[in-house]
């Protein structure tokens, strides 16, 4: 039969073997390394010169960095004892289990998703692992030689000392005393050799381990080591700091990390088991549920878990619950009515009337005509938006039910969070804000992205719209925002915005900062999405029109999925930029991770003026997260490449 699978990518299971494309031609791997070096590093005099010059530069910088990090004068204790401060600031120690619950939920959900979504691929080749181990071993060995021992002027003239302060008789002895490092390098090299010796698989393909299993398995090493290796016990308690280098780490560190690791393994196993059990249809539904959970999780973690609202049940029973019920039932009825058969024009007019009604309350709020609960205003607006989309669900009873059900879920979720957010927290901190440090970086970045993504997409669509009014408004917004420095926008929102708000509206520092970030980031995201929109061929629009899709349907089902896919790399770039730009929070008075290192720790009496260590550590934290994001984006790109030409 010629209809068969003759054409197109080969298929493994139900997934096209896109990863195959990355396979290197075999001859390249067989070339000797000497030849490789000659060809790539010393092909001609000029390039040889560049190689040497650059090599010297790298060695000198590495030596400087190593000398700095391992110098006896370094106050790494300032970082070690202040880890909690750096990550969560003043969040109370006795409530710390809440922080771990948050980490746990994210870890579990992440591993569950990986188990459910992961495509398998061809895994991590052992050869690659071996190369990485060898490179690490070489780097360590080189580092040991490069790093000079601190030379201090003692009573007897010059004394050579090592980082731990032990006095050595000579430079050579200092080198020899770094035996632990030599040993580590040697062990790594031996392991690398052993790994390389693993024979090819029986089908001739190179030996490999599944990437995910390897990563999580490797994670076991540091986690286990907290139980056996004396990393040292450092803590800050009542302004005093404890440093006991000979002990293993504190219980409050190793227990949670071990639990996290176990949780990761368990979730991964559960995710894989489930994805093997259920059929395709159930699996795709499950994935949708997981994706939706990701959207809700940040809100739950911050507002419910970390903040632990002190719920006022009397008010809930008399005001909040009845209100939610009224909107749920009333709104459901309105939507049911709007979608009845043959409502046609009337439905559209009804939806627009509802929008006008909702908008009116907002005008009234800003003019101060009459008081109204903020969440009532928002509820009307939500209902109006649903009503505008309602005609897509008209006709069949099952579809109408789905619309009403969606409304009930939205109302419940919204009213729940509106209530929770307006309730004071039970967690008491000595500072104004609940959290600080890296937690604040994450919270602001995550909320900014969740809010600015939809906004950015809407702006991009408006800018490419056929209607000039949308185009002009969106273009003006984007160009204005892109022409103003972020810090100006932040200061505007934090300092000036509260002055404009009507008397009965308040906005917290976090909220206004997040708003500023959101509006800023949305403008850039919009430009990235627009690039994707422009990459879509005209035929896609024509085909959508020809099968009768409406403009909204065409946008949601055809245009956006393709254009977002096309713009993943710049979108991730924007995500990383936003993540790093949260460091500006320090300037507007938020205690974020940068401020911890730059001004809080250096002000502690024990660590007066110790700044550079903290800054280096903070840079490392930023780098690790940004790097993980960009790696994930590459994975995503490869995965989503599926199905495209």
């Amino acid at each position: 039969m010629d209809d068969g699978d003759g054409v197109g990518a080969p298929v493994i299971g139900d997934k096209p073997a896109i990863e195959r494309v990355a396979t290197r031609p075999a001859e390249e791997t067989h070339r000797s390394s000497a030849e490789w070096i000659r060809k790539n590093l010393f092909p001609n005099p000029f390039n040889s010169f560049l190689t040497v010059a650059f090599g010297i530069f790298v060695l000198v910088s590495a030596r400087g960095l190593l000398n700095f990090v391992f110098s006896e004068e370094r106050g790494w204790d300032a970082v070690r004892t202040n880890l909690r401060l750096i990550f969560t600031h003043a969040y109370p120690e006795e409530q710390y289990v809440r922080v771990w619950v948050c980490v746990g939920v994210v870890v579990a959900l992440a591993c569950l998703s990986l188990g459910l979504f992961a495509s398998g691929g061809e895994g991590l080749r052992l050869r690659k692992i071996s190369n990485a181990l060898n490179a690490t071993a070489a780097a360590i060995a080189l580092g040991v030689v490069l790093r000079e021992p601190s030379v201090l002027i003692g009573a007897d003239g010059e004394t050579v000392r090592d980082a731990d302060g032990v006095v050595r008789q000579s430079f050579a002895e200092a080198m020899a005393d770094r035996w632990a490092w030599w040993l580590a390098a040697a062990v790594l090299a031996v392991v690398a050799l052993a790994v390389r010796r693993v024979p090819k698989r029986s089908d001739g393909s190179p030996a490999a381990v599944p990437t995910l299993d390897f990563a999580i398995g490797a994670m076991a090493l540091p986690v286990l080591s907290t139980w056996v290796y004396p990393w040292g016990h450092y803590a800050f308690a009542d302004g005093e700091f404890i440093a006991e280098p000979g002990r293993t780490v504190a219980m409050s560190t190793k227990v949670p990390w071990t639990v996290m690791w176990a949780l990761a393994v368990a979730s991964l196993i559960v995710g894989r088991w489930v994805s093997a059990q259920v059929d395709e249809r159930a699996l795709s539904r499950l994935r949708a549920v997981v994706a939706f959970t990701w959207l809700v999780v940040p809100f739950v973690l911050y507002w419910v878990v970390l903040r632990d609202p002190d719920l006022d049940w009397d008010r809930i029973f008399t005001v909040d619950a009845p209100l939610a019920l009224a909107f749920g039932i009333g709104g459901g009825a309105v939507l049911w009515w709007l979608t009845a058969d043959g409502r046609g024009e009337l439905g559209r007019i009804g939806a627009i009337a509802l929008l006008g009604f909702a908008a009116f309350h907002w005008v009234a709020a800003f003019m101060g005509w009459y008081p109204m609960l903020q969440k009532v205003r928002i509820s009307f607006l939500l209902l109006a938006v649903m009503a505008l989309l309602a005609h897509n669900f008209s006709g069949e009873a099952a579809k109408r039910r789905r619309l009403v059900l969606a409304w009930l879920v939205i109302t419940t979720v919204f009213h729940y969070f509106a209530t929770v957010m307006n309730t004071p927290s039970t967690v008491e901190t000595p500072t104004e804000a609940l959290i600080g440090g890296f937690a604040v970086t994450l919270v602001v970045a995550v909320f900014t992205l969740m809010l600015s993504f939809p906004l950015g997409v809407v702006l991009a669509l408006a800018r490419t719209s056929r209607l000039p009014i949308f185009r002009v408004m969106s273009t003006a917004y984007i160009e204005v925002v892109r022409g103003v420095p972020l810090i100006t926008i932040l200061i505007f929102f934090v300092v000036i915005l509260p002055l404009f708000l009507p008397a009965n509206m308040e906005i917290s520092l976090f909220a206004s900062a997040t708003l500023g970030y959101t509006l800023f980031s949305a403008a850039y995201l919009a430009e990235n999405v627009r690039g994707g929109l422009q990459s879509i061929r005209r035929g896609q629009y024509e085909a959508s029109d020809a099968v009768g899709l409406s403009t909204v349907q065409r946008t949601v089902f055809i245009v956006l999925p393709q254009s977002l896919r096309a713009s993943i790399p710049p979108l991730v770039g924007q995500v990383i930029a936003t993540f790093k730009e949260t460091s500006l929070l320090a300037i507007i008075g938020v205690f974020d991770i940068l401020r911890m290192a730059n001004s809080v720790i250096p002000a502690q009496t024990q660590f007066l003026g110790i700044k550079r260590e903290g800054l280096l550590f903070v840079s490392l934290v930023y780098w690790v997260f940004s790097y993980m994001l960009s790696k994930q984006s590459q994975r995503l790109e490869r995965r989503l490449g599926v199905g495209e030409r």
Binding site: D2, D3, V547, G548, S550, R645
Partner: protein, 259 residues
Amino acid sequence: MSISDATVAVSEELAARDDMIVCRGVDKWFGDFQALSGITATIKEQEIVVVLGPSGSGKSTWIRCINRLEAHQSGQIIVDGIELTNDLRNIEKIRSEVGMVFQQFNLFPHLTVIDNITLAPIWVRRKSRPEAEEQALSLLERVGIPEQAQKFPGQLSGGQQQRVAIARALAMEPRVMLFDEPTSALDPEMIKEVLDVMEELARTGMTMMVVTHEMGFAREVADRIIFMEDGEIVEVGTPHHFFTEPAEERTKLFLSQVL
């Protein structure tokens, strides 16, 4: 040539049927350039009309005006009794009655074959998903590729993609199918599989308007052939008339070039 000449060519049996597509004096400009001038033609129910003409003669433009991918500036286009105007509701109605197959297939690359086919029935025809999928599978069966349902368009050959595109159009249960050079982007060995599907479709009584350069198809399957040049209809006639005794000089010239 006049309108009456064009209608003469319609056989009596055809003339008795209802009108499916009526064009009266359709003009279309792209800026200053007139792409269609005074197109007047009637296509009857269940009729197969092949539109021939040199490249750039306005065939695509005409066929795309019929489901409003292009808007005409003057004259009338009436499809199944509904006139195409700027009224969005009429456009919606006509689009759900008219299926279109493009030269470049224009499948949705991010959706599987089955999702390509069921998308519009679910969201425009408001079918339930199981119902739409059942229909999609039977359509895939009909175009001869039931086993490809879960693949992505990029994994199929050109001929297979074009057959999916036909299934996608048929899933909307249209009354008319428009084909704009459906085989021109295909490798020669795949042309036949697509033409076979179209022939089968013609036998089931679908009204079809086909722009093509496949003279064999025109000769065998068409009820009538319309020959266009420079945005005008030059000659209309049965395949027999057309290939044996064309009346117009321009038609003869064209035929001498392609045959």
